[in-house]
Symmetry: C2
Subunit: 349 residues, 2 copies
Amino acid sequence: MHKFKIQPISTGYKEAIGGVIENKTKPVGALGRLEELALQIAQIQGVESPEQVLELINPHLVVFAADHGITAEGVSPYPAEVTYLMVQNFIGGGAAINVFTRQNNMQLLVVDVGVKGDFAENTPHFLKLKIRKGTENFLHQAAMSTPEMHAAMDAGITVANGAAAKGCNVIGFGEMGIGNTSSAAVLMHLITKLPIELCVGRGTGLDDAGVLKKTAILSQAVANCTLKNTEPLDFLSYFGGLEIAAMVGAMLQAAQNKMLVLVDGFIASSAMLVASEIDSAVLDYAVFCHTSGEKGHARMLEHMHARPLLDLGMRLGEGTGCAVAYPIVQSAVAFYNEMSKMSDLMAPR
Amino acid sequence: MHKFKIQPISTGYKEAIGGVIENKTKPVGALGRLEELALQIAQIQGVESPEQVLELINPHLVVFAADHGITAEGVSPYPAEVTYLMVQNFIGGGAAINVFTRQNNMQLLVVDVGVKGDFAENTPHFLKLKIRKGTENFLHQAAMSTPEMHAAMDAGITVANGAAAKGCNVIGFGEMGIGNTSSAAVLMHLITKLPIELCVGRGTGLDDAGVLKKTAILSQAVANCTLKNTEPLDFLSYFGGLEIAAMVGAMLQAAQNKMLVLVDGFIASSAMLVASEIDSAVLDYAVFCHTSGEKGHARMLEHMHARPLLDLGMRLGEGTGCAVAYPIVQSAVAFYNEMSKMSDLMAPR
């Protein structure tokens, strides 16, 4: 069993930090969400004096990839093999997340925690921490065993600690896994207690009939489930996926390491939802980067009282929302560190 | 009288460009607004073949600054002198727009078209194209004469052409001028015909009583106005300001030059509103960068059918919304140019 010790962020210096922000050469509050973001980062970094600057060091973007047994039920318009092909695409440098992490100078790391198929080892930016080749079909049985789930969480912990060891203090999480909106939707349904219909969406592009079928299959899966325990981690192991479990471990460990945690869309948010059930202090470290076009996401965010930075109708996964939003995080740090003071501006010349 | 010849963007290649975007390694439409933005940029740049890449060259951010006679009525919580002080701050490099343009590698140019007070000449990034030292108080008389308005538009045209001569094909516009939300609110009221109450907001931070007083003053100014002509440019010269007129000229000329035009918040949008009344094709070149926290902005945007990229509660002006949003424009170009093709990914290996 994992134990995390996440320190809730210090609110002791809120006034001092707020004073720094208010004394910038602008009307009070005029930078809106950027000011809230700067305050959050300053609190995470334990800013104690007005002179102390904020730092974003060695930003990482981690994509966890895994396959899903539930794809046998036709819950996705894409064949399961696309997970493998897309990881090849990440390794080759041609996917959206490659483009956006290059653009914004983030270190990309692709971690195979459960893809069916093998990749060339020692590829830059690729790490094999495979627990098993895909999950079982959770319509009929648990997606993974409890030890497998813990192993997947351990993979996430390893990655968060590996990045921290390189000085990284800001880390974004994304995923690749055909079928994983199904896992995320069921986790959302079971944790938020919202009707399954509000949790299920088009994924990579189902039509209306496809969404109805997916909803029926997921309802049946919940009905079939023989779980006796109903802790969030029980739901996680039963409904998967391996990459979601890895994100849960990684997010909790990153928060324990006092790293800023960038959360991508629907699936990454479902991992944060599970993580926040284990220790709600993880939310102090979270920056929700975008509202996904996937149907259930807005309500899932509401449940966590989260207001993401972007709302651009993106629904690609891979951590692309984190990578596209990252410059806004940089803007928050830049204004905090670099803007001149109102008291200097208004001083007699 | 100015004549602009803005070519509506080519829709002839929409299908070909759309094909490029659809063949990227992602579900169709999964990059949301980034895809629409890439399409717009490709159409502006006249993309004719799938091989042609998009380019963002020498991005500029221009801040037009001027003073406002209406400040004598107490419509702003800040004294009019702050316009001068903030331009000094721009020149000194310590304002928010300095920080964000440095962060995102945009060329900053501050243009004095009507500030009361003089600045050191030959300062880098500063240009003096002063028409007059501030406007008249439009509660009692026209803010400027028609020739002065045309001179201010000319200043904007000069700046847009100067940037184009340096190869620039993407240009953002912002402003500094204590009192200028009053001009923008009246222009919005007269052009959109929305009630003045819906157009007037807190500006740099008025309280409720201040907003009521501002609304009453602006209503009175409209009632006092002796204008016989009711063309948008008549409204512009009567209610100001010089920096808004400069932006109108600059935006129209930039569109004529086939530059991508980044539009900041409430005041810059009021300039685009006037410009679009003169030639609606200017909107084909516009990227609305953010929804301001200023009250009337959302409705003004609706009137132009504009959906901005960001909604972060910012209300600082200076072009800060453009500069913070610029990386998203870069993301649209980057995915279009760099992502691999689905047809390559799915090909037999």
